[in-house]
Symmetry: C2
Subunit: 423 residues, 2 copies
């Protein structure tokens, strides 16, 4: 069975031009209508499709999937069934919703519990996140940070091109798009002071990232090779790794970022499968020096995903601040997962592995305000005449991601986060 | 209702002199007999008591605890009931098992499904760990590491006495005492080389730690004060934070320890409640300079827990390598939890917060081989004439912890980990 849904296929559900969700996408999410129970869902155009209701009506019989897998507040039970089951499910959904299937169209359209307009439902956090790792895999981002904070002549640390640097992040504070986050407070050491002060962060930033989700458990002591890595990866999300730069600067030596990150990280609601992204595979950057054998790989593991970031001040239009692309990643997911497990670390269904800030070579492709405004020296002009070196209270940060080629667009929707004043 | 079980109380179950588990302890764990279902348990002397069976027999009626809370493979559902419920449960257990209660003795002794010898059951991982933080809160340990790896004249980094430094760790690889761990492989940069090699670690170490467990959820955006922190903490475990020093040295700048830690961390099976440890509260070290207001506290939050570490080579007797004490901690748990949440980070039932290596002032109280053998310059002599600067294959690391005063001993049992060769 092929992994992709044919590009020529159309759905009997309306799909507007430029939609992120044609029948070729079929992403997975968790939604709730009003005070109803959360169910697994997919989306075509602006229509959210209740997979539990669809299963209860018998449309998903024969896949060997217990409808109970869709009747839960997280996608974990669905992903636990494995990539092959999710692949069969997407194929079956494409058959049900393709435009020739008038019988399914009639039956489903006349049911009252399957189809919902995206505007009337609430999208929830799609996963119970087990462990969360944040990598640091964009060469341009690591170089920019190195130039600004260490030594421009030796911007990259010696280990950076030898291994995909990463660290463990906080899972409990990962929330879904639309969740407002209060500006965090913490210890900040002013430049001309020997001692820290306690204050709301003055340098609240976003980090534009993509996260992959694992759908297979491994045993402690075992490793996943780069060849096998994608068998463990069900799909991707947009990820906003909110960061408080001043808190980070004071706390992070020697054990890494901690409270500067754990006040909130935000994901988009729809898990876009690797299968749907298959047409957008591209070669990654050349890796020089040569990597150690366990990090070598065959095939293309980068993906051409256009990523845009906007800041929207209250009552103002969206202001674009960044146009980047996931294809710029120096270290790919297969390498990241191989590295994560090379010491025998076990992985679980529902783990989340974020890319690190995705910056490109051009200055309009930098994936954080730290880089965009270059440490405050090049602030961004907003429509109301104000400037931003970092994020203000009541600003909303919006990230969007999509892949496009003639006749096919696969998108992620958006991850939007409003920053509220410190409590 | 008082928190403690009276010191004069005795049990009708046998308790040998020097036992870690008198009727004043009543810890919580998860056990399995043969292929039976995992149940919550407590322990008195060498007897493991099945709490689900005890509830099914009606002994725990009136506490408002659904017996189903004990019929699970983790303690999380029990701890979710809150500290007050766990307190009532411990009090009830003390009434059932105190030596005057001959009626309970007769009924329980004649049942076949309540009492088990500790030697015939398997103790399991007691918790589904949500997030895991590892602090770095021993002044002596941080100073020793600073002297060895940075600048002896400025061993402590500037932030160390201002905040309890910590970082996020990997939850998936936390296992229970008795689980053998394979020596991890990874990237190591030899001293005289510009490039790393791939190799099993040559510097496998333990870190002697104590972990606390939270039993209350908080909302994202809220903080826990030092005054309220212990309301969120149900109890403590022994924690062996296995570390690969050579992997750590190469990977940890700038984002902290990652694969050098995530190959396995080991906990003792019995959660000893803060209530049981109440008689062993002591003052902590004086904190100078003065800490910021959110880190100030009232009362004593250090605990006098004697901690011993032994290495046992295959077929050899145990060799003591460290005698330390939890009372040495510079930063206490109330401060650690207040710091963890001061940015609004939410905490959950079943989170685990480890202390960091617990070293005391004397050289025989250092809590890691790195410090004990002082970077390999003072190797430990073993009974068979061999030496240890780090841990060899087939060595077992054993940590024990207990509190003692006249007429009362409360212990943790042990956390034992055998190191197997790299796979």
């Amino acid at each position: 069975m092929g992994r992709m849904i044919e590009t020529s296929l159309k759905s009997w559900l309306p799909v507007e031009p430029g939609s992120d969700f044609p029948i070729q996408n079929i992403p997975f999410g968790i939604f709730r209508k009003g005070v109803g129970s959360p169910h697994a869902a997919t989306r075509i155009g602006n229509t959210v499709i209740d997979l539990f209701a669809l299963a209860e009506h018998g449309f998903l019989d024969g896949l060997g999937i217990n409808p109970g897998s869709f009747n839960f507040k997280y996608l974990n039970p669905l992903f636990e069934l494995g990539k092959q089951s999710c692949r069969s499910l997407r194929k079956q959904l494409a058959l049900i919703f393709e435009e020739q299937n008038t019988r399914a169209c009639d039956r489903i359209s006349s049911a009252t519990d399957i189809l919902y307009s995206a505007s009337v439902v609430q999208m929830l956090l799609p996963l119970k996140v087990g462990d969360y790792t944040d990598f640091y895999s964009s060469l341009e981002h690591a170089t920019n940070v190195g130039i600004m904070f260490r030594d421009p002549a030796n911007a990259l640390l010696p280990n950076w091109k030898q291994l995909p640097v990463g660290y463990h992040g906080r899972s409990s504070s990962i929330v879904v798009s639309g969740t407002a986050i209060h500006r965090p407070k913490g210890q900040i050491k002013p430049l001309n002071s020997e001692v820290p002060v306690f204050s709301p962060t003055r340098e609240l930033d976003f980090e534009l990232e993509i996260a992959f989700i694992t759908s297979k458990n491994t045993a402690l002591g075992s490793s996943v090779s780069t060849d096998d890595a994608e068998d463990h990866i069900i799909g991707l999300l947009l990820f906003n790794d909110l960061s408080a730069r001043d808190i980070q600067r004071w706390e992070y030596v020697p054990l890494g970022p901690f409270l500067s990150k754990s006040f909130g990280s935000v994901v988009s609601p729809w898990v876009v499968t690797l299968d749907a992204l298959e047409p957008f595979r591209v070669k990654g950057p050349v890796q020089e020096p040569e990597v150690l054998p366990y990090l070598k790989f065959s095939g293309d593991h980068n993906f051409d995903i256009q990523l845009d970031v906007f800041i929207q001040a209250e009552g103002q239009p969206e202001t674009p601040v960044c146009h980047s692309n996931y294809k710029f990643m120096y270290w790919n997911m297969a390498q990241q997962l191989a590295h994560q497990t090379v010491n025998g670390c076990n992985i679980k269904v529902g783990d989340l592995y974020a890319s690190g800030t995705i910056s490109g070579p051009a200055s309009d492709s930098f994936g954080s305000m730290l880089e965009i405004a270059w440490k405050g020296t090049k602030p961004v002009k907003m429509p109301d005449g104000t400037e931003r070196s970092f994020i203000n209270d009541l600003d909303t940060i919006i990230m969007r991601g999509y892949c496009e080629k003639p006749g096919l667009r696969i998108g992620f929707g958006e991850v939007a986060t409003k920053i509220l004043p410190a409590l």
